[in-house]
């Protein structure tokens, strides 16, 4: 009983501990990859709050990711001496505002309509990013250098990958934990119940439109934070950060990992980035393989990798004769 309740906290602590020893074990190349995985993990977690928790299929999540990425790049270039914290703060403020306005327009529609409109909005942002050459750099993109991190009592240089890895681990890790905490709050539970039965929630007196708008804005800001770190990690930002391909990427990651659980998408990111790095060495056709895996999962394993793991675990538990774990869990709570 106690272990059930503490399990997420133990998992979080274990993941942080694991992340903390990684710089001692991994080479620079792999540390870069791990940083990328952590950044995309936050992006996928924010996407899953929409898809898995609220049941909203968005094809425009990259507009927030890209907006965060561009805000950091543009502000670091145009405001000399801007601190790391202010740049990230600006990105958060910007994506929150965009999320609120876009959400107000987009959330009037549901299902297919919503999916279509988010795609159109994403294309609009992409078109602007491509055409507004003076600000966004157009096809050339923007190069930046990471500013040092002021901690009040001391200043840490983030120029090397190790320092930046620590910074990413702490900030992005905290953001992911905060997202998890959000799903446990009354607000997060409201979103879940709204997906199951919106009519009833309305009868119970919840303003479902406001809840959805808050969720949409929140996920937008979180994706913006991930985008900000994307720019900081690569020290470069181009219009690909705001393209529909970036939405496709997060959709593949999230779905392959599994939309049914909070941690599933992070697993998806891990698998995706590792596959991308190794498959692209072997064959140029790796997006085709990703697409085939995706369609196969949509058809046969809608729960993604998480579902496979759970079935495997059930099978294993069944063989040992401990009964059916899912029913046992419900009886104990």
């Amino acid at each position: 009983m106690m272990t059930q309740k503490n399990a997420p906290y133990l998992l979080i602590a274990a993941l942080f501990a694991l992340g903390a020893v990684m710089p001692l074990v991994l080479k620079q190349y792999h540390l870069n990859m791990l940083t990328e995985i952590i950044v995309f993990a936050l992006y996928a977690v924010s996407y899953n709050l929409l898809l898995g928790y609220a049941g909203l299929l968005s094809f425009g999540h990259a507009m927030f990711f890209g907006m965060g990425a561009f805000t950091v790049a543009v502000s670091l270039i145009h405001i000399p001496g801007l601190s790391m914290w202010s740049a990230i703060g600006l990105a958060l403020a910007m994506t929150t505002a965009v999320g609120f306005v876009a959400g107000g327009l987009l959330l009037r529609h549901k299902g297919s309509y919503f999916a279509l409109l988010t795609l159109a909005f994403n294309s609009l942002f992409y078109a602007v990013a491509t055409k507004w050459h003076t600000v966004t750099g157009g096809d050339d993109g923007l190069s930046i250098t990471r500013p040092d991190l002021a901690l009040g009592f001391t200043t840490v240089s983030l120029a090397g990958i190790e320092g930046f890895y620590w910074f990413t681990l702490v900030i992005i890790g905290a953001a992911i934990v905060f997202c998890w905490y959000f799903t446990q709050t009354a607000m997060g539970q409201t979103v879940l119940m709204m997906r199951e039965n919106e009519e009833r929630m309305k009868f119970l007196g919840y303003n479902t439109n406001v809840s959805r708008l808050i969720l949409f804005t929140f996920t937008g800001a979180v994706a913006g934070l991930a985008g900000a770190f994307y720019t900081l990690h690569f020290q470069f930002c181009s219009q690909s950060a705001i393209s529909v391909d970036m939405t496709t990427t997060v959709l593949l990651m999230t779905f392959v990992g599994g939309t049914g659980t909070f941690w599933g998408p992070m697993l998806g990111v891990l698998v995706y980035v590792i596959l991308q790095n190794y498959l692209s060495d072997v064959t140029d056709r790796w997006p085709l393989f990703m697409g085939l895996i995706f369609v196969f999962m949509v058809l046969f394993i809608p729960g993604g990798l998480t579902q496979i793991i759970q079935s495997a675990r059930n099978l294993f538990a069944g063989k040992r004769g401990t009964g059916k774990p899912i029913e046992a869990k419900e009886a104990s709570s």
Binding site: L105, H109, L116, L119, A120, V244, T248, L292, F294, V298
Partner: protein, 286 residues
Amino acid sequence: MSDFPVFFLHGLAYAGLLFLVSAGLTLVFGMMNVLNFAHAAMYMLGAYFSYTLLQATDQFWLSLMVCPILLFVVGALIERFLLRRVHAFGHVHELLLTFGLAYIITEVVKWVWGNFPLAVNIGGFLGDTVEIVGITYPVYRIFIFVCAVFVGTLMALILYKTRLGIILRAAVNDSEMVNALGFNVPLVFMGVFAFGAALSGFAGVIAGPLLSTYPGMAHEILIDAFVVIVVGGFGSLGGAVIASLIIGELQSFGVLLFPKLSLALVYLLMAAVLIVKPSGLFGEKQ
């Protein structure tokens, strides 16, 4: 403004192409309630099939007849073996499936035909120019518009004047009842989806010589077609006609009058329609 008639005709030609693409999209959406993200990918497939066929035979008319049939088969197979399976899981899964298919088709196209533009030239009468209202104008662009008018009329006649059209419209309202009356509704839906695919293939063959054939063409037309069905109203054939004309002309004159804003104009129109009348110009209230 001596350019005015030329740009007007350019707008009509693009509107014709846009209608051919969005008609299939809106038909499938209106009948089956499936928003087919793979529609534009099938359009691209049509263009590439046509390219290969033209390389081999150099017969444009043959390609215009064969490619839609090929796409009809592709569409029927997709509906029968893939889409029908996920129907029970709901809309999100249908969207994800068609989206995944679009992704795969694009990758396959890049693999088979390469990731660069291919030019399609047509000779003969269609490649000529003709004198109208005092300007010399390519016959091919007029041909596109004529094709669109022909297809639009044909669709309207089938839907509203034939027995098949009655069954189709009834199946949308109450598929179980129509099924109980002895009509094979799953077969009807398969036919609708395959017809939509054939239409996209037809549009793809036509688009080849106008725009060039390249892997990004699907995405480009997809957004415009989406804007057409948002502005025209979801599932409305008449709305698709009007919206195609508006957007075709807007694209054409946008380049002439506001070159810097031209890309954003279409989106601005869509945003305006969404704010004023979210169901689109001819859409039914949800």
